[in-house]
Each structure stands twice: as C-alpha cells, then as structure tokens.
C-alpha cells in the first residue's frame, strides 16, 4: 500500500455537518460519515447523518441510530466510514473522550475510519471567502491506537470534492439554511422528521 490514505468529502456531507453545528450553537453536536473505500488509498465520504445535539455521552440512542443507519445505507452499498464532532465551546480544539470512544467503535468495523472535528476559528474566517480548505480538522488512528490530528504539517489529506463548497456553505449560512436540518435526536422526539434530510438541498 503506497502513500497515505486520503479522504475526499462530498459537498452535501460537508455542508450538512457544518449546518448541524450551526443549528445548535450552544451545545456539542455529532454525526456519522458515510461513504466507501476506493482504490485502497482513497476514502470517499459521500453523505453524513447528524446524530444528536444533547447528552452525547449516552449510548442507547447512539446504538439505535447506528443500527438504522447501517441498515439503510448498507442497501446502497455505503458504509459508516467516520464520525464528526463539534465541541460545545468555541475555543475547545481537543477531541473529547466521548468522541474518541465512538471513533474507536467505528474503527473496529472500518479500519480506515476518520474523525472530523469542527474548527471554529476556520469557520469564523470563512466569511472572508478566501479559504478553500475545509473548516474541519482530520483525525486518524495511528499505530499507537490513539487519534492523532493530521494535516498539520502542511499537506492536507482531506479534500472537498467540489472546490466551491465553501462558497455554497457561506451562502447557506447567510440564508439560515440550518433551520431545516433534522438530526436523530429530533427524529426521536417527533418521528415525522426525517434524519435523511432529503429536501435540504432541493
């Protein structure tokens, strides 16, 4: 296996996770990333499902959500390839223990799993419109079985599939599109709400 494992995230998946974090500004949010492994060195993340915005450490809701997500996306040939997390506080850039544990769990089923942490500083400077790189930090599991941040040495292993994704994201933020996003917690409160968010990008 030559070269490092790269990750490519689709625009829909990327935008969904940022909008989810923006909808619940005062709490931590998380969700799973879905996709597939292509060519042994590229993981394509094509979709994401927002999970919850409260009581993230509790397991039963997580277990049910993962079962349903696997069942639904397994039929389409996609599997859970990663997990994303956004911290409660603005200046918290560490991956908390709950996030690491969930990441470990996903890693057991998909060894190339990635964990994305929302980078609040980058999100803030997004409105200046100059940066095309994603506003998240990538964490992968290295040989010491702990989650390490990658990309800090300059070469970024995470790319967004559509280069104008940040501009679309900015547009959505300005038009307050985050109000329409539904996560699994919302679904459990009111099952009429669909965590697949099928109409979000129409």
């Amino acid at each position: 296996m030559g070269g490092e494992l790269r990750y490519e995230i689709g625009q829909n998946a990327y935008i969904k996770l940022v909008l989810h974090a923006l909808k619940h500004k005062t709490s931590a949010t998380n969700g799973v990333l879905l996709g597939r492994l292509v060519d042994e060195d590229l993981v394509q993340i094509s979709d994401s499902v927002p999970l919850s915005h409260s009581q993230i450490g509790l397991l039963p809701a997580l277990e049910i959500a993962l079962l349903q997500i696997e069942e639904h996306f397994g039929a389409q040939g996609l599997s859970i390839v990663g997990y994303y997390h956004a911290n409660e506080r603005y200046d918290d850039f560490d991956l908390g223990s709950a996030a690491r544990n969930i990441g470990d769990h996903i890693h057991r089923y998909f060894p190339q799993a990635a964990v994305l942490l929302l980078d609040n500083r980058k999100l803030e400077t997004l409105s200046e419109g100059k940066d095309r790189s994603p506003v998240v930090q990538l964490y992968t599991r290295d040989a010491t079985r702990s989650w390490k941040q990658t990309g800090s040495d300059g070469n970024s292993r995470l790319t967004i599939k559509e280069p104008s994704a940040n501009i679309v994201l900015l547009d959505y933020i300005l038009s307050e599109k985050w109000k329409g996003i539904v996560d699994f917690d919302d679904h459990l409160d009111d099952i009429g709400k669909d965590w697949l968010n099928p109409d979000l990008f129409k």
């Binding site: 993230i56 509790l58 039963p60 809701a61 079962l67 349903q68 506080r89």
Partner: protein
Amino acid sequence: MVGAVEEAQLNRLENQVDNGGGGAWEYLCLVRKLKVRRSEKVLKHGLSILNDPKQRSKLGGEEWTLYEQVAIAAMDCQCVDIAKDCINALQRKFPESMRVGRLKGMLLEARGSWKDAEVAYSSLLEDNPLDQVIQKRRVAMAKAQGNISGAIECLNKYLEIFMADHEAWRELAEIYVSLQMYKQAAFCYEELILCQPLVPLYHLAYADCSAAIAQLSKGRNKEDKDSSELHTLAAKTLEKEYKQRSLTKLPLLTATLRNLKLPS
C-alpha cells in the same frame, strides 16, 4: 425544559412576531417565563421595543426587566456594545443594585476578562453570600474556561448548600454524561426524579444512564429478565406509529428491532 404545548405556543408567537404580526411583548414574556435560550430573536424584538419611545413608555415599570433580558441576550449573541448600553441605563436607574452588579459581572465574562469577573463576583458575594445566581455564574465561568473538574467541584459545593436546585442537578448530570461518568450521572438523575417525579425527561435520561452502565459492565449479552409482553407491546405501538407518520422508515424500524433481539 419545555413541554410540547408550550413549545408550540412559543413557536406560533415567534412566527407571528417575525412576520410583523405584533405581539412582541407577549413573546418576550413567554421566553422569560419558560427560560428558553432564543437570544437572537429576543435581541431583535427586544431592541425594536426599546428603541421605540412610544412602546417603551407603554411598558411602564416592566421596561427595566426588558432591559435586563435584552442585555443578557445581547451578551449571548456577542453584541457587547448593546449589552453595555442596556446595563448603563439600568445602572442610572438602580445605582446600588445587586442585580445590576451581576449584569456587570456577566459583561466582563462576555468580554473574556475572567479574572475581573471573578473579582466582581467575589465582592458581590461578600455582601450577599447566599446569592444563588452568582454562585452559579462562577460554575459557568469555570466551564467556559474549559476547567471542567473545577466546574464539577464548584457545582458540588453549591449543591451541598442548595440541595433543592434541580437546574443545578441537571447541569451536573449533563457534565458527568459528557465525561462518561455514568454512575455519578445516574446519582444526579435519581435526585432529580425524587424532586420532580413527573418530568419524563429525567426518567428517560436515568434509563439511558443505567443502560449505558449495564452495557459497559456486562458486555453485549443482555438478559431479558423483564416480561417480554412489554417489549412486544412497545414494538407493536412503535410500528403503528411509524406506519402513520413515517412510512418510509418502517422497514428500518423492523430491522432495528430484530437486531436488538426484540420480538416484533
């Protein structure tokens, strides 16, 4: 924690005010009563009332409560200047007030001057050592600075004195859950259920904690000691509900129930 009826009423009022239908003052009163955190809306509508001299004089004495509410909302939205103006107006009216002193402390917090805020709160506590809100602000400051263990310590000390404060118990339970300290979180939820046995949220959260503890200690082999009738009934109800309201998800539900080894 807001019930469904109140939330529906709040949303209806919010839509009405957003679309220019009036009723801003009722909306703001309801937000204050239910203690929900909708700072952007409160800021927008509160300011529109305060900046309009006619509407302001209609409020009479309530004007000052509105100033306080808008100041807090402004700080939540990081509009520190607006907050400062409101607080100055309150200061002019109530020069020696404890409430205004508290707001000034919160303003220092909003600016990030943690040490100054701590000094301000300590001096206020000297005059009034049993002020609950200020003690809770200190916990909030510790949490905001990332000092979670300090926040837990402060909160525990606070709860030794004010054992009946269920909001504080809830906050402590949530902090423990975020640190995955499920046994301590379960203890907090037990206290909450004792104070307020009719709030379903606490029962659900307690059940989640107990499930998490059981899962982590025994592994995946859960024994079904309870009567399976309850499970079957629950599964049937869920299916009916899903058929009515979310038909596309019904196959997912049956698969999930099968995976959880529940009869469906």
